[in-house]
Symmetry: C2
Subunit: 569 residues, 2 copies
Amino acid sequence: MSKIIRINLANNEIREEASPKGWEMIGGRALISKVMEEEVDPTCDPLGPKNKLIIAPGVLAGTTASCVNRISIGGKSPLTGTIKESNAGGTTAYKLGRLGIKALIIEGQPADNGLFTIYVSEDKVELVKTEELKEVGVYSAADKLRERFGGKVGMIIIGPAGERLYRAAGIANTDNEGVPSRYSARGGLGAVMGSKRIKAVVIDDSVAKGPEIANEELFKKTRSAMAELIVNNEQVANSYTKLGTAGLVNLTNSLGALPTRNFSTGSFEGAEEINGQKLYELITSRKGEGRPSHACMPGCLIRCSNVFPDENGKTIVSPIEYETIGLLGSNCGISSLDTIGKLNYLCNDIGLDTIDIGGAIGVAMEAGIIPFGDGEGAVKLLEEVQNDTYLGKIIGSGAAIAGEVLGVKRVPVAKGQVLAAYDPRAIKGLGVTYATSPMGGDHTAGQTLRSPVDHKKPEGQVEASRNAQIVNTLHDCIGTCFFVGGAIKGELQLLGDLMESMTGKPCSVEDMKQVAKDTLIRERRFNRGAGLNEADDRLPEFFYTEENPASGTVFDVPNEELKEVFNFE
Amino acid sequence: MSKIIRINLANNEIREEASPKGWEMIGGRALISKVMEEEVDPTCDPLGPKNKLIIAPGVLAGTTASCVNRISIGGKSPLTGTIKESNAGGTTAYKLGRLGIKALIIEGQPADNGLFTIYVSEDKVELVKTEELKEVGVYSAADKLRERFGGKVGMIIIGPAGERLYRAAGIANTDNEGVPSRYSARGGLGAVMGSKRIKAVVIDDSVAKGPEIANEELFKKTRSAMAELIVNNEQVANSYTKLGTAGLVNLTNSLGALPTRNFSTGSFEGAEEINGQKLYELITSRKGEGRPSHACMPGCLIRCSNVFPDENGKTIVSPIEYETIGLLGSNCGISSLDTIGKLNYLCNDIGLDTIDIGGAIGVAMEAGIIPFGDGEGAVKLLEEVQNDTYLGKIIGSGAAIAGEVLGVKRVPVAKGQVLAAYDPRAIKGLGVTYATSPMGGDHTAGQTLRSPVDHKKPEGQVEASRNAQIVNTLHDCIGTCFFVGGAIKGELQLLGDLMESMTGKPCSVEDMKQVAKDTLIRERRFNRGAGLNEADDRLPEFFYTEENPASGTVFDVPNEELKEVFNFE
């Protein structure tokens, strides 16, 4: 991949550049951090013309190895005020990789309120007026774009939420079937895309030459080795492939870490109604369009995604994921997968992050607007968001702002972003990640659920989080799914071999980790430039003072230790 | 003054302490900064039990000198996330001074949702249940408290805004006539008081012994010297006494600095309808209860306050001030003093900061909710706030949050707080103050309007702001009104002599300035502890990029120079 394409909305100029020398190993999140540091004033208004929206596949994108085609989208976040990279599956990284595109950098801002789509193919990149898509939901927008640009394009789309600059707006990527539900959800990047008046990016790789692979033989050999490890991995088959990420519900519930009723406890009496087994049963018994296992991106052998049907076999939503279940389900006291699926679909269509919206609905429930457990009420709240009412705007702003406006003191956010579905008092390594990650409350920034620590004790959590943050960042930089590490039994050198096959240069695990560390260092530097310091690396007060009854713990990793997370800085 | 009284709402304990040794010169804002630094975790939740609300008169409070009885109220701000001191006139500092009370420190938080009033007199301090005042407006609450505690008490009161934890909630102090309209308005401290479930502090000095004065002779001599300077100061008579602060409208309008239609320009075509002359004419022609000149605190000889009557001579509001006219008037495109007076009264009664609410209504107008200039619409917006509707909650959260929720990009705030009524592009020294003050956007933190600089040029503004911040902080520490400096022709040593008469120790202007500098240094240290760094010392982007058409300027004081404001640190 050698091209970087800049689209400047201030003057509608499109420019193609060669990828800078020395960037062979720089893709995805690493690339975003480099561009942000070199080109964007960290104090800029995230929704102003000085911010940039960067769409960057990982280094391995466009190839047919398993789990290597995740997309990174980044910029300065209007939710957290920090640098942000938000990562998703789908086909968009694959298609950009096949077009040899290392990054799309969307710059500036139009003077008027038009609405554009960026069309990218082998022979051209152009800005197309698509006013007719104003305020159109994501699913319907995808259909209309497909009618116009052909059935096989990949698409990156925002919903009304992004157009309206809601702080909880995400960005959808289409999957293998063209369903726009693989979300770069976090950090309000949908609002950044909306601020530039870009409704969609359409990627047409129909006549693409495909990615340049320096060493085809090494690539094929490594791809096969990985495939063999994955397909023979029983844990993958029994958990991720069969149950999807929903398989985590039982585990976190047993740890007292499943967010329940606005993080007031960590075990949910309705857990059995929303766990992986229940989801599997419903999908397999309802049949029709349902699929218990489904690949979110080309070539994926883990297939943790799913298609969730209603009683008549018609799709409610695809996929339904653990984080969504935890936040829109147990965190709201809702124990019906049908309701969660409906809420999930609505979020996807409006263009919202299910995690931040689940947090915001939990906060609205704590404020007494509707009671905990009121699924119908939650659907109505999302209809308020859809209809852009004042209450809808409050919810669409995410939990941090909703908490401020609604006068709620217990708001589960870090750097303004809702924590994922792991209570930081019960899985303290994740608490360290939430607090210290340059990304704010985000499990994919440093997942310690599988780390060899006692999750309820403060000891060892800083090291666990540090290691996880480095490895997770590594995946975000090279474009691999972070489940692949376990799936290939920790043989990360295989990823190094894939890197070598692409770049022609040997690549050790340490080399990849160095890319990750450098990325984290750049991100933290950007955040300091944006006005943050170590005192921002904290959780909300109630996690330190209010015991989680299910785990019997508060968050008690000492601040002095939190300062040591980035000891490689 | 020798007593510090602590009221802990967690256990309803009331404790009296002697003022620490060496605190003779420490009062008001200086005292707040000391207590906050020594006792409050800067990362704490501003609305949680770890924050404290500190009510501290200045060192000269309780005496009968002119202009020395301002009250300081402080804590960590839920609006700015910084340390905050908000300053007002009225009688409360005077009465606390007469009781020998150096500070009331309100700590902790009750477990339930009760509502209390703190009663303070010569012989007792007690917590009184006043559930019947829940959601009662400030004026009516004052009446009811007076019925209960007697007509001559001083009162510090919050409205429904503070009880509901609105981020733009202020705290009212009663004036000489018992009218609760001298506002410690800024920074959302009303919400801090509300979070502790304190509706009011009632101060009964009926049998007070009065303040201890170490050198009566020096005190009387200095008081007379000051009085003579003030009553013979023609500028005071012709501007402040006759026109009040509204006299500034013509000056700022001519400089292109009068905020107009959400800071989109700095001169207002309706300025003549809202200036000091117009106000004077209306008050003097309508007669009845109107007073063009009125003392906000005991003994004040400047008398810049007023009572503004309607056509029948009944009071609309008292006082009406320049900042309110600038924010609720021209900034909203409203050119009727009657409407501004009505808006002002509603803000006072609900318990809101007129500056932040004027900013929020301007933002709502920019969002298209009502058009600029729609006075009736603005009144209706405040009724939404009064009724606690969702739109009302958004406006009551202040302009920063309103801008986020309503998707408005031009939001005139610094550190989350609305700028006062001076466009920072046209009076650049104030821009420096807004950007760098530990208090956020606040003119009283460092007013440069009278500084010997070309307001439109970047040169010299950092020095002007530095000097103004030191002198303004000096006034906030000793409890003097910041108009007194001009009124006594810059003879600040007279204030030093008053200090000496109180403490018995010689006090030079440099000594007082040192107290101010030490205070600023402590405040900045607290803010760093709260997560801020120099990148937070900035104005919103649009002031740097969008020309103010009235002044023909952008804000262009270089960031490198902004770093030099606190060169004494």
